[in-house]
């Protein structure tokens, strides 16, 4: 008898992510669980340390606007074609969040160190940048195998939680992520992974070798929630498109504190919004 995954409601999932947790999130072009982000805002989570793998988008902007975030560790916060992330920009200008600016491969590499259970990993680049100057947790050391070859050492980055979305999972907690393999890296590196999936399918994804190659084993998954359209208003590659009209409306409203509150009330906090999840 194979071990079954913890099947959670979306609010149960949100309650398993504690205040102050270090939470790794994928970028907007991967598989993002906006349904879980809304549930986190409803449960008034506080003090999150968000890790962008390697960048963040709408998920971070909403969580920042709702006052859920203390620290941002990311290579960027971008809404791509929709423009600057309004709540992120406002919070940084008011010095309301602790910024840990990074560069994309530093985040990937530090997660790989955690994945391997090693204490640090060296990375080329960065020397002479202000990214490095502001990262007190990164060090420049010697290449032990060469003379006079400085290299940056990054401590392993171990998120408390990886929060991801995916097209399909099964009752054993196996989760198919397709070509979005950074989501597999996130699951390997984090202490716990919570996932929402469009559909929990019958059978075992590991039985089909074509699926297995792109499937996170249930070993890493602490809880799974079925959430049809769980990425909305973002899309999922190969599934549905982003809701451009809604995203443009978000960006317009989120330009002001009042507008953002209106957005939250209409799409996140209202009973109707909750029931729709």
């Amino acid at each position: 008898m194979l071990m079954l995954a913890d099947k959670l409601t979306i609010d149960e999932l949100a309650s398993r992510i504690p205040d102050g947790a270090k939470v790794a999130l994928p970028p907007d072009y991967a598989y993002c669980s906006l349904t879980a982000v809304r549930a986190l805002i409803r449960r008034k989570v506080k003090g999150l340390h968000l890790v962008g793998v390697p960048s963040l988008g709408f998920q971070a902007d909403m969580l920042i606007g709702a006052g859920c975030v203390d620290t941002l560790e990311t290579a960027a916060v971008t809404l791509s074609e929709y423009g600057l992330a309004p709540r992120f920009t406002a919070a940084v200008k008011r010095a309301e969040i602790n910024m840990m600016d990074a560069t994309c491969p530093a985040i990937h590499a530090a997660l790989q160190a955690s994945e391997k259970g090693i204490p640090f990993i060296p990375l080329r680049g960065l020397i002479g940048s202000d990214i490095l100057a502001h990262r007190k947790d990164w060090k420049v050391g010697d290449n032990p195998f060469a003379e006079n070859d400085p290299v940056v050492y990054l401590p392993a980055l171990k998120p408390d939680v990886a929060l991801i979305h995916a097209p399909i999972g099964d009752k054993y907690g196996n989760v198919w992520v397709g070509v979005r393999r950074e989501q597999m890296l996130m699951a390997h590196a984090a202490s716990e992974t919570f996932v929402t999936v469009e559909e929990i399918v019958d059978g075992n994804l590991m039985d089909d070798l074509k699926m297995k190659a792109a499937t996170i084993p249930g070993l890493y998954i602490s809880g799974i929630t079925e959430a049809n359209k769980g990425a909305w208003p973002l899309g999922i590659p190969g599934g549905y498109n982003p809701d451009h009209e809604h995203l443009r409306r978000y960006v317009e409203l989120a330009k002001t504190d009042e507008g953002f509150q209106q957005y939250l009330e209409e799409f996140v906090l209202e009973a109707a919004a909750e029931a729709a999840e």
Partner: protein, 247 residues
Amino acid sequence: MKDVCLEEILIESIAENLDGLRHVAVGASSPIPGAAALLARSRSNGKMRVSILGSEDNNFFSDGGKEIFDVAGQGRMDAFFLSGAQIDGKANVNLVSVGDYEQPKARFPGSFGSGYLYFVVPRVILFRLEHTPRTLVEKVDFISAPGFSDDNVYRPGGPYKLITDRCLFDVDKERKCFRLESVHPGHTVDEIYEQTGFEFDLPDGTVPETRSPSSETLEVIRGEVANEISEIYPAFAARVFGIDEKK
């Protein structure tokens, strides 16, 4: 044939600098570099690979977000493109903020992969389509990626050219500064001096005009390249080439 436009001159000028390369990668928010890479590939007789972030048709990576950086770190990427909110006379790039870092006057998305790719990709072509003293500054407020490094720092990569909406600069690696290479049609050297916040060198003799694409090249840009770039940048393709935006 319709008159040549600025975007087409930039596409041709960038493409010339990609000639003979094996793998050209294009990052986010880069429609003109993307089109230039596709033009260079079209002229390479199948000898060039192009990967474009955000594309389904032109993105062959299958090992997650880290792969493009691993590829670059190994020397399997010959050219990449970087822009910046500010670029300075030492080719430092700022993608982070203006003013004090802790409480900035303006904040941009962030450094993305620049703090790494600028060090390891041999030909990094800088592009900034707003050439003013506000963007091309004497000294950037935040160094996302430095233009040059001390001799003991591993640095196979770095700046190769800087292209703007007014001109093309070459990079003098010895003197660690830019040298004006050509001025786009309709612009003048005096104007470049006025609109540039950093000091730069001049070439020997008169400054040439940036070459416009030939009519054969224009056909390729307006045909095959325009169609391919519309997959990733529909609004750009509609504005510049009149390609209908697909829903």
